[in-house]
Symmetry: C5
Subunit: 359 residues, 5 copies
């Protein structure tokens, strides 16, 4: 049943993220047997390994260098001093509570990440109100509805460009937006000439209000409550744009991020010394075996630095990582849904028929 | 008093989940004596044992193999090396703070789980507004009210299909929805032909708006505030659908899940070695007794892996686990309540009588 | 000034909970001297001692039995093995991080508890709107207002019965509600005959809508915004009922509760062995003194199991514990306030007089 | 520029709390040099020292008594037993995780504290709507506006009296409210005679609705949306009152508070023994020095018991502590602002003039 | 394409904060290679080093003094006693759980910080409603719209002055606001003469209401819902002002801050003694090496005191630190956007043209 397919599985067809999301969900939805989350361990895309392989190589490289130095280069007192230093560093690794720091920090960043997703402006509420309240089947009515909807999408694209690298790449200049048919040449010039030193994503919203006022005067909007509700929804839409701008403007204080990063990195610098396998023949406590490869320490590295990477990823969800929000998908979806709603579907009249259970 | 019974205890009659929920509550509501939560330890359905018995067997199997190897296969230096390795692994288990990681992670996932429940769209607000504001007792009025309500339920079912495996099973194709009487053949064809590459659950909402606009023009909706309020509530309903779609689309970053899983699993890999009972005759510290069965370690396993299972379960609450939301129950409830409200109960007029305390 | 007394201190006169609450507050409000929270330690009602005395006795009993066995029954190798087992168990108690688990779990449950309190439907907003917008001093107007208010209270009582044991006891069947004058015989029969398999607390809300629609047609409600606002508030009221039903339906996953309970209980099983006073003459480390009574261990028991009890109590706040919400008090309060508002106080006209500061 | 002074710095002139707040902020606003929070350590008012000096003296007293007993009274085996007991108690202090418990508990209480502040009802929204929608410059219009505003303030004062000791002291009886000019003698009698057994703060809200209804009938309120919005805002105001009453009624479960208090107090009882300086000549591990004064232990005491005091303070923010909300300030501010808004400033007409930048 | 530049990159042109923010984001947006957060470690502006260098010098100074005393001044028993003291202090540093305390405290303060950002009043919603509903192209209409907008900005500036040092510096007296053209001389005098002892930021809101009432009477506002919505949005705006004032008035209890500060500072006082390198020749456990410079301890200092600095910074975000909100930027932006919206852009009529995709 291909038409169903096309209706249901589109989320899986979008690029990158949702593809992964889809497959993850397919995993999750299966009754968990022994695997479960375990199966997720063997994925590459958007995985901790993909994010960390460079860091892991660097860490292992340094570890190896220190290890080789200790095993072959150091002799006598120097060797003994290195061993003392290793114990000193080891003691330090036990003092440092990076798990708490990371736990609290990641929780804060996670909240912020989801709030940012919730702050993405969707034009739908406005669009439905336009479809419900801006009446008329003549060409001018169609143009007005299309223009209103165009302004909303324009405003969203302008704020997305400020925050999302992907959208910025797609629309590097206003001219590209003109070419995409979302801005007219004339409007571009007005935007350009406006003597404001601040981001101008709010200007299309003002145009929207002006057009709505005119439409009300013309009588295409027939009621005052309708007028009120459209303006209210425009304001809600614009508030979301402002909120997104606020997230772009006010970031998590640099100090907090630095503190967490310093804690994590200095922990692993200490590990470079403190987690070396010391000569078992010296009978140091806890150093009875020499495995050469720091397996568990590497797991620890994956774990803690991976946790820090979670924070890095969540901090800027509008980038181009595997896990970031696909803003271009949102732009396309919004354009399609809003034009379909106020134009193509507006005039489609379904027959009023009894449903199957009508007695 | 059977009619009461039927009114009060239906929550217990629904399948799976609420049955468990009901019994749990019966437990909880009793004055806790010595048992209390303790009694919950002996339940099977939706229990941690049911979720974990396979993993427990695998863990015990591996533990047993290692134990047998140590006891019978290893000799001399190899045995001694194994013992050193066990101590090394044991040290590692103390370093790893999986309780924090799991605590923070599960808290994040728990919040998300409940937010997802809150995001389920219920048509009730819209339905009550239709009952209050779409007037008329003639057949066309009835058809209009029923159609409006049908669109709402259709939209909800389409978004549920995208997220919930149970609903997808019940309505694998649009044709099944047609057969259930919630979609007409003609509407199905329109949905099918719509040139949109995104999920189409919003289309019935557009139909709803179109029908409302027509109904207002006909005068069956008599006031502008009523018109406004119906469109507003439709928007709220559709927002919930979008929110659910957002949860389906944007998942908790894979990295976070991997980090937590790696931490937990590597902890128990380390335990396979580090929690072995070493030969008491070797007089190792903390190895004075050989109990053969790793009782406390198994408890630890149940505890930590169970905690991880909590996260797995909460991560996708729209599946088919014992603990997942029963979306088909919601579909049925919504259909029943909404049609009863706008149709059967609409015309039922109760006599206006003095109540008992009327002086 | 007795009338003041009667105005101010009624919260203290309600049964059970608020009595305790009142006294607690009297404590808290006093300038804390050395006591403060300390004074709360000597209360019995709703206290941790009252909740735990049975468990404490059981724990001490088991502890005593083990202690006696160790002191008198065990000899030689058996005794020595027990001592080894005790050390093994003691090591285990240090591994287990129940404080984190309980901390995270109780925080989650606490949030849920307060959200449940916020979900209790209060009819006040609807009632005030009825008083403001349903006009008329004739008998029919009075009956209509009283009936509207009656439906609201009926709906609340029906949902309370589903969740609260106290309300269920007060109104075990619909007939009891009829007797209380909140439901008429005829309405009861309609409820009984309604072919719905789900809880029917929403049916009175539909009646409410039908009556409102009729009242608007009669012109007793004179404006469309008034009509809109009453329906909106009814929807808010019904949403609260649904939310309460949702809390009743979707509980904290059993797995989470089991995991926390297993952790706590296995900790104290390990304590039964590991916290025994071993023979001081054996010169075991940390076992230099024999106090017979496990004072600090008992404090630990009170502390951890008490923390778990907090979760148990908060999990189901609609029960009959000292700390649970007194739903019958809410039912009474709602009935009284709503009938007074729409009926007795409706016609009471206060003279419009200059206030004291009017210049 | 004294008028500026009077405009800007009034927050500093209010009693108690804001004075402290003001000075704290003056600290905080200065560029932090080396001090910063450090400077706050040397404040007395509302400080941890002021709150704890009594407890500190008691703790030191007990510590001193135990210390003197150990040093001078105990001999031989008794002394040795005491030393064993001290080690036992010391072990116990390490087992007890009071930092987690306090951390989770204080976080919960802190949230509740701020939510309580947000629940304080401010009449401003209602007042502005009265100013905007209740028209007329004649005396009756003035009286109506003043009466409406009076009812709001009366309702707020009645609920404040129930929760805040300061307001209760200011208005111990309804007669005191009459004397303050917020209640008339006649209204007092109605309140007194009302046959309700519950707090009556909602009654003035009903009077408000009755008066609004009359005013609408008179035509002083000219539009239905205005009528609707005033009733809505009244409901929001009354909801806040209810919320405050809810906080007064449903407190944090006593068990939780007891558990935290037991943990903290038993920790320091254990410290009385376990943190004694044992005879250095006995060569006990960790007891190589005798400082007589338990400096660090006292810091720990200040820290942990101070943390508990934070919870005590936040638990009841409507009391008379330095840190509590100054409810009488709020009462005064509300009275002044609301009467100025609807009366004095209502008729003040500012000339409509071009502003400076008008081109 | 310079006009684009000017549209997109303005956020980077504002002073201080956003400059940093911009560069940080440029970092973050690049695909993280090995650096990532690591790169942030080498920044100075708003960094932890810039905040802490003074404290670090002081700490190192004290550490050095103690170290020199130990190495050169102390002999014999005194030296030995110092060593005992150092061990005693070292034990203490392990007891103190400052990571939890800081974790919980910073989380609380972080929430409050972001809530404060959300509480900043933006006039945009009001402004758009004025543009939509206050009609007329004549000069008086323009003046009215400009005056309404002026009152909003005036109110915001007055509340900003109370909280933000930067705005207070810019407008030290009302006369400065007059000079900026936001207040007229006459209005200043009224503000000055108003017999209120509380902050007067609400007075312009009352003027706003009075002017709106007059405008409605004149018929420039043509509908009642428009009137209602403007008053509602004014109330939302004023609520934000009140919320900001509330944050200014009710601070985090001093006790909590003191407790956290005491914990952190006493930890590092203990470190001054306990983390000294003791003579390796004494063979003390863990003191086998003498590195002279306390590298790891300094990292710990940076980490913990840095974490405390995060709290200090977040506590008062309206100051003049690198990380604080730039309130003057907000004042400018609001003035520009609001006057452009209601005046310059109000009359700009865009031609109604078919868009590019119009078929």
């Amino acid at each position: 049943m291909p038409e169903d397919k096309s209706t249901e599985d589109q989320s899986a067809k979008t690029t990158g993220y949702s593809d992964r999301s889809y497959r993850l969900k397919r995993f999750c939805r299966r009754r968990f047997k022994i695997h479960g989350f375990a199966r997720l361990l063997f994925r590459w895309k958007a995985s901790v390994y993909k994010l960390l392989w460079r860091e892991m190589i660097v860490f292992l490289g340094f570890y190896g260098v220190v290890s080789i130095l200790y095993r072959f280069a150091l002799k006598g007192t120097t060797k003994s001093n290195f061993e003392k230093l290793a114990f000193y560093a080891y003691d330090y690794t036990k003092v440092f509570p990076i798990s708490f720091v990371l736990g609290f920090y990641v929780t804060v960043v996670f909240d912020r990440w989801w709030t940012q997703f919730k702050a993405i402006p969707w034009p739908d509420r406005c669009v439905y109100n336009i479809a419900a309240h801006v009446l008329g089947n003549d060409e001018e009515a169609r143009i007005i509805r299309r223009t209103l909807v165009r302004y909303l999408n324009l405003s969203a694209i302008m704020i997305f460009r400020a925050g999302s690298k992907r959208v910025k790449k797609r629309f590097p200049t206003l001219t590209h937006i003109v070419e995409a048919g979302i801005l007219t040449e004339e409007e571009k010039n007005i935007l350009k000439d406006l003597p404001s030193t601040h981001p101008k994503y709010w200007v299309p919203c003002v145009w929207f209000v002006n057009l709505i006022r005119m439409t009300r005067k013309q009588g295409r909007i027939v009621s005052d409550p309708a007028m009120k509700t459209i303006v209210d929804e425009l304001n809600n839409f614009r508030d979301k744009c402002d909120e997104l701008y606020g997230f772009d403007w006010i970031i998590v204080p640099l100090v907090y991020t630095q503190v967490v990063t310093i804690a994590t990195y200095s922990y692993f610098v200490a590990c470079l010394l403190g987690r070396q396998y010391l000569d078992p023949e010296m009978k140091f406590e806890g150093h009875t075996i020499d495995l050469f490869f720091p397996g568990f320490t590497l797991l620890e590295f994956v774990f803690y630095v991976g946790w820090l990477k979670v924070a890095e990823n969540l901090m800027n969800p509008f980038g181009e990582d595997d896990d970031d929000f696909d803003m271009n998908f949102i732009v396309d979806r919004n354009l399609q849904v809003s034009f379909l709603t106020v134009d193509d579907l507006y005039e489609m009249s379904l027959p009023i028929v009894r449903d199957q259970h009508f007695d």
